[in-house]
């Protein structure tokens, strides 16, 4: 490469950064959040103060956090990655020791104005630390066993901590998300083949063991699987909720029953109607059109992340943006599969829509990182 061919690329600095903020992403996120406000207003029976208003305040806070995050240069974020990871890990341990018990699990730390869920923070911190790790690691070493072991440890540590909370959903998301980042970073196919084969083998063995004297799962755990596969086997227990959720969604039809007219959610047949199952209210009140609109918004945000990553030639930025897009995808894909009866109910919120503080704030900060990578791209 000759000197003449070399073009000087610069990174925006100072107030000019604002010009480079990706506004379409901000608009997309605001649109998704607004769907959330609307639905929270509806499931509260036309009351703002119950869920919609606190959620709006949090979104405002989230927007501010996103802009602040975006302004910080991406290289600084890279250098802070390990610190973020260690911080999140420390919080996860702290939650084990001093956390608040709620809904049968120990998940929160009360920090005064809100209840922080460290496992949410960890989702982003893990993406950051893995991106930084592969940014640091010379490419030729990517697939060497020793250097593969390192990220696996980075993933398993927080996964294990979330499992004891217990929060199976988040633990699975961390594991799948982390593994996929390793895949994106270029770890050799063979490793994944082995893991997938082992996974399939395990599932097969577990099912085969049923009814034998070396049975690997407890009877109730098998029953839970049965319930998921056929909700009618437990119509008043766990199956009840998923059946009611499907009824809510199915009865929406093309255009839905109209805003605030959803009988399933308004009459409380729907479980967790303001958190995990809020999509069913949307689907009931706005029908297929409403549900598809939200899905389209999600896909647009996802596509934005993928394209932004492709335009980022810096390895950290790329992997970070892809990883955040992936995390976002896993959120809505798992939640929607769950509420449509395609996956077991594991307690994953619908991103930016479900009522909840930590998840929204953390996601906004994550998109701040995406914005930072976008702004600080050399042009």
């Amino acid at each position: 490469m000759s000197y003449l061919e070399y073009t000087v690329k610069t990174t925006p600095t100072g107030w000019r950064k604002v010009l480079y903020i990706n506004w379409p992403l901000v608009i997309l996120l605001t649109a998704v959040a607004s769907v959330g406000f609307l639905m929270l207003y509806s499931v509260a029976g036309g009351r703002l103060d119950v869920w919609a208003e606190p959620q709006m305040k949090r979104f405002g806070l989230g927007l501010a956090a996103m802009f602040v995050t975006a302004m910080v240069p991406i290289w600084l974020w890279r250098n802070l990655s390990v610190l973020a990871y260690l911080g999140a890990l420390a919080l996860l341990i702290a939650v084990e020791l001093f956390g608040t018990v709620g809904m049968g699990a120990q998940r929160w730390i009360d920090i005064g104005f809100m209840r922080l869920q460290p496992s949410e923070l960890m989702k982003i911190a893990l993406v950051m630390v893995l991106a930084a790790y592969y940014d640091w690691l010379p490419l030729r070493k990517t697939s060497r066993p020793l250097w593969v072991l390192m990220p696996i440890l980075l993933i398993l540590l927080p996964t294990g901590l979330t499992l004891i909370q217990p929060d199976l959903g988040t633990a699975l998301l961390l594991m799948i998300g982390g593994g996929l980042i390793m895949f994106l970073a270029g770890v050799h196919w063979a490793y994944f083949a082995v893991v997938i084969a082992a996974g399939v083998g395990t599932v097969f063995t577990v099912f085969e063991s049923r009814g034998t004297d070396w049975q690997l799962l407890k009877d109730y755990q098998f029953r839970r699987i049965d319930t998921f596969l056929d909700p009618s086997t437990d119509p008043l227990g766990a199956g009840y909720h998923i059946t009611q959720a499907k009824i809510a969604m199915g009865s929406g039809g093309w255009t839905g029953r109209g805003f605030m007219q959803g009988t399933q959610s308004r009459l409380n047949f729907l479980p967790e109607k303001h958190t995990d199952f809020i999509f069913n209210t949307l689907a009931e009140e706005f029908g297929f059109v409403g549900g598809m609109s939200l899905l389209t918004l999600y896909v647009l945000i996802l596509l934005f992340c993928i394209f932004a990553a492709l335009r980022n030639r810096d390895r950290f930025s790329s992997l970070l943006t892809l990883g955040i897009g992936l995390t976002f995808f896993l959120y809505f894909a798992v939640n929607m599969s769950m509420v449509m009866g395609l996956a077991p109910v594991v307690g994953v919120p619908l991103p930016m829509v479900s009522y909840g503080g930590s998840a929204m704030l953390v996601l906004m900060i994550a998109f701040g990182l995406v914005q930072s990578a976008h702004i600080h791209r050399p042009r």
């Binding site: 940014d135 994106l184 199915g250 039809g253 390895r315 992936l326 929607m336």
Partner: protein, 639 residues
Amino acid sequence: MRRTPKESSDSWRRISRRALLLGGVQLGFAGMLGLRMHHMQVDQADEFRLLAEENRINMRLIPPSRGRIFDRKGKVIAENTPTYRITIVREDAGDVEDVIAKLSALVELDEDELNRALAEMRRSAPFLPITIADRVSWESISRVAVNAPALPGVTPEVGLSRFYPQHGNFAHVVGYVGPVSERDLARYEDPEPVLRIPRFQIGKVGVEAKYEEELRGKAGAKRVEVNAVGRVMRELDRREGDNGADIQVTIDSDLQDYVQARLGHESASCVIMDVEKGDLLAIASAPSFDPNKFVRGISVADYSILRDNDHRPLASKTVQDAYPPGSTFKMVTALAALEAGVLSPDDTVWCPGHLEVGSRRFHCWKRSGHGHVTLEQALQQSCDVFFYDVAMKVGIDRIADVGRRLGLGTAPDVPMSATTSGIMPNREWKQRERGKGWLIGDTVNASIGQGFVLTSPLQLAIMTARIATGREVHPRLVKTIDGVETELVGGQALDINPNHLRWVRKGMSSVMNTTRGTGYRSRVVAEGYELAGKSGTAQVRNRVVSNDEVPWVERDHALFVGFGPVNAPRIAVSVVVEHGGGGSSAAAPIVRDVALQALYGGTPPLDAYPSSDHDKIKELQERLDRERRERAEQARGRA
């Protein structure tokens, strides 16, 4: 950190390849979610919508209002009155303890009921109303209503409950209602859903039970929208049910009231029947009890008081108890003899005071004997030997046959509980029931209404009505249902020679209207109101000592049957006073008094009574007036 350009571009290629691959998978998954949504919301929409409707729509029953019961003149016997109760909804009350404390300052709260309510509150959903005070007075309810703003979650509620304004007067006739029990439900093959409503009341005994279907009516229904826990959100539509039919009974409540008061504290019963249609004008069993106590479940203490009373207030003695009819049976023996042609009115029988039958000696009540007696004299003085003699000539089977024609031995068809058929024995009966052959002594005993013969007071009244009219009178208790008059049964002439009946009636008239008659002291002197009758004394056990020397339960039952006016009978009366002693002294005055009340349609003039009785009648009238006043006061206190 430094990297070579080669490495950098190589790394980029690999990331972008895999990113595109993963992006493709993600888009594919999103597409699949979209297809799934389409499948559920478009292809299966109808199915799911149906399921959603089933979820939210619920049918609720509207209990019908129970039909009322009136007497023959339209006076209320059973009605539905509002009852007030106070309910509390936990979720609306907020601080339940505080609200209850405030409430107890306004209303007297029962400790037990309060504890039960608190326990119930802990168990049930927070939005369900829990009753914390039942049967609250109107004053208390209005105090609560006025203070409603200070009592969140507290609601004064009004419901309908059966009320019997005449209290004890109709307890045995009309019966009472009570909460549906498991046993009640078991009676029905497919119980109506309305029966499963908590606190729903159905007829337990008497007319209330026999006409349950008519009185209950048909439940209405409303479609309501409910939420997941069953709370009613709004009403969608409503179909009113049919209220129960009103029933009018043949009883004259004023007369019934008089009879009940006249029987007083005796263990006694009285039936007054209209001989024309068979309408029961009064049918009283004393002592009585207040059916209102049973409506919402009687307390164990109250129940044991009623159960352990030796005068058996719970028994409906007029239809449920059977007594030896004693000498009131003599008309049957006489008619059987006349019908068989073994007796004519002029025949006489010699009564030396006893009759030898085989090796046994049967006594007349008059040890010195009556001498030569005719039929009329035999009835008049109640000569036993006369009837021993003619009965032996006729035989039990023909006596039983006449008895049956007069209504004995079969249960009268009245809508009251546990109606007995009594016993009208014959040879076949004894063989079947006792496994023994009929003896001549059995006939002798039966001829004067002792031995195996048993009759209920109602049967005695029917017998008397049939003798008085010569027609097959059947009792009628229900006059109209829903305004439609009930059918009259019977009424055709009896298969008995009218002349024979006339002769017997003449004898019965002599009983009351001739100086030697056993009922003469209880005669009526008002012209046109004279009665005819027959006394009876039923032996409770064989003994020779006099009544005064044995305990109450071993004394004779006193009976008297009568009809009047003697020349154009309108009513028939029977009275049984348990362990009352002689029929002519204990039962006959009651028959005279109640019959005059019935014939006059109110209090008769004093000169309807023999002058020797005037003082007693005045005293009696004062006592009844006083008792009525007391009962009226008591009723006001209870209401």
